[in-house]
């Protein structure tokens, strides 16, 4: 399919936007990356995702698909000649989906809280984050069965869901001066994180920690009501 038949609407710092991009890379599908300007939403975004008005949106032909993990499953189902992102066994698929939902609904919220909160509240979020990592370490052991990824030999659904958060995890570790992935407590995840970030499908799009730190300053300013920068 010609490159402009597949578009991803997004922004480079976004965890969620990384997900469909990794999936398309796994399938060796060429796509056009349309970057939203920070601080505003394009007409195309508002038309393609009128319900949530959020990135990422995959536009395939003229059809928009929204919600990052729904997009990843769509990509897996449409481009069947490339490596599979989900396993074939229904139970294994359920486990991957369960943990992807956990990452998005519970762990992500705790991470976000940890980045913003202060004092006692921050400690509570930190506990939630580390408990979550302990659960994910255990899940990694069961899912990977000794291989490099949650998906086995290759990156799968849960690798994409969780791995896309590694950029911001590293920002939190650096800025918050806290160790989240730890060789002693989460050795499996430490190794997995290295493998994930080094993978060909991920390497070119995983944002550098320093760039994310700079960007997070912009985000903080926006949250405090400063006007968006003129691009």
């Amino acid at each position: 399919m010609a490159k402009n038949d597949v578009k991803v609407l997004g922004a480079w710092p976004s965890t969620f936007v990384m997900r469909p991009r990794i999936a398309l890379n796994i399938k060796s599908v060429n796509y056009e990356f349309l970057e939203e300007t920070f601080g505003s939403k394009s007409e195309l975004l508002l038309q393609s995702n009128p319900v949530h008005k959020k990135i990422p949106v995959l536009i395939h032909g003229d059809k928009p698909i929204c919600e990052s993990m729904i997009i990843v499953e769509y990509i897996d189902e449409v481009w069947t000649s490339g490596p599979s992102i989900l396993p074939s066994d229904p139970y294994d698929r359920a486990i991957q989906r369960f943990w992807a939902a956990y990452v998005d609904e519970k762990w992500f919220a705790a991470m976000r809280g940890l980045r913003i909160a202060q004092g006692e509240e921050r400690k509570a979020f930190l506990d939630q984050v580390t408990e979550g990592l302990a659960l994910l370490e255990e899940a990694f052991g069961k899912c990977s069965k000794g291989k490099a990824f949650f998906g086995g030999d290759r990156i799968g659904l849960l690798d994409i869901a969780f791995g896309s958060l590694l950029g911001w995890l590293r920002v939190t570790e650096k800025v918050g001066k806290v160790k989240l992935l730890d060789e002693a407590k989460t050795p499996g995840l430490v190794k997995w994180a290295e493998s994930f970030c080094a993978d060909a499908a991920v390497k070119s799009i995983m944002p550098e920690t320093e760039k994310l730190i700079e960007f997070s300053k912009l985000l903080m300013a926006q949250m405090k009501g400063a006007p968006p920068p003129k691009n």
Partner: protein
């Protein structure tokens, strides 16, 4: 095709989705009733992460989270498919299922629990979400087309839960005039025998909340105030 158990609670809108799906596919299962005020060791064993119902246990292996369970059921038992085959249609069904859970249900509860000065805005927000569902079903018999499918099961007991939340919170969320298509769909849906057999009824929900004392925990609850 193996031993199937469902750990659930009869008033839960998430649990009835699972039982409906299994019944639609003609799958026999053992129902294990859970008391949410006193969680059993079985539940804690099979869903240690969230400690919530429903849990499907198939040949001793647990699956949790209702939307994940529905897809597992659909992939394991292929009679009467719930999700469409086409990837785009499937994505659309999944999108709206999430919308129901993350927006409709949450905003309805928020409207029910809102303080007086925030109530009007909370009700408007809930109605905005419900309006999208109404628009989605406009002109269609069921969300799944001619027969019920994945999204019908997900939306499922929402009309009954909304009636309950209206009474609990002293608010008006839905009526036949405002959301005619949603109203029409819900009348047809509850008449389906498999659905009718097991759907949380507003009176039972009200009863449960008032007798358990939970109504008092809802700020400004019309039910709590009447007791």
């Amino acid at each position: 095709m193996g031993e199937v158990k469902v750990i659930g609670a009869s008033l839960s809108s998430f649990c009835c989705r699972i039982e409906w799906a299994l019944k639609l596919k003609g799958v026999e299962y053992e129902y294990i009733k859970e008391d949410l005020r006193n969680k059993s060791p079985i539940l804690l064993q099979y869903n240690p992460v969230h400690k919530k119902i429903p849990v499907l246990v198939h040949n001793g292996k647990p699956v949790a989270e209702s939307l994940v369970i529905l897809e597992y059921i659909d992939e394991t038992w292929q009679e009467n498919p719930l999700l469409p085959k086409d990837p785009l249609e499937k994505s659309t069904a999944r999108f709206w299922a999430r919308f129901v859970d993350e927006k409709c249900i949450v905003s309805a509860w928020d409207a029910c629990r809102a303080e007086e000065h925030e109530k009007e805005r909370a009700v408007e927000s809930a109605q905005e979400s419900l309006g999208m569902i109404d628009k989605l079903i406009e002109g269609k018999k069921f969300f799944g087309g001619e027969t019920i499918g994945f999204l019908d099961l997900v939306v499922g007991s929402l009309p009954n839960w909304l009636k309950f939340l209206e009474e609990l919170g002293g608010i008006k969320l839905v009526d036949a005039e405002k959301f005619p298509s949603f109203h029409e769909w819900s009348k047809k849906f509850v008449e389906i025998p498999i659905i009718k057999e097991k759907i949380p009824m507003p009176d039972d929900l009200i009863n449960y909340f008032t007798t358990s004392g939970l109504a008092k925990t809802i700020r400004g609850s019309a039910l709590a105030n009447n007791k």
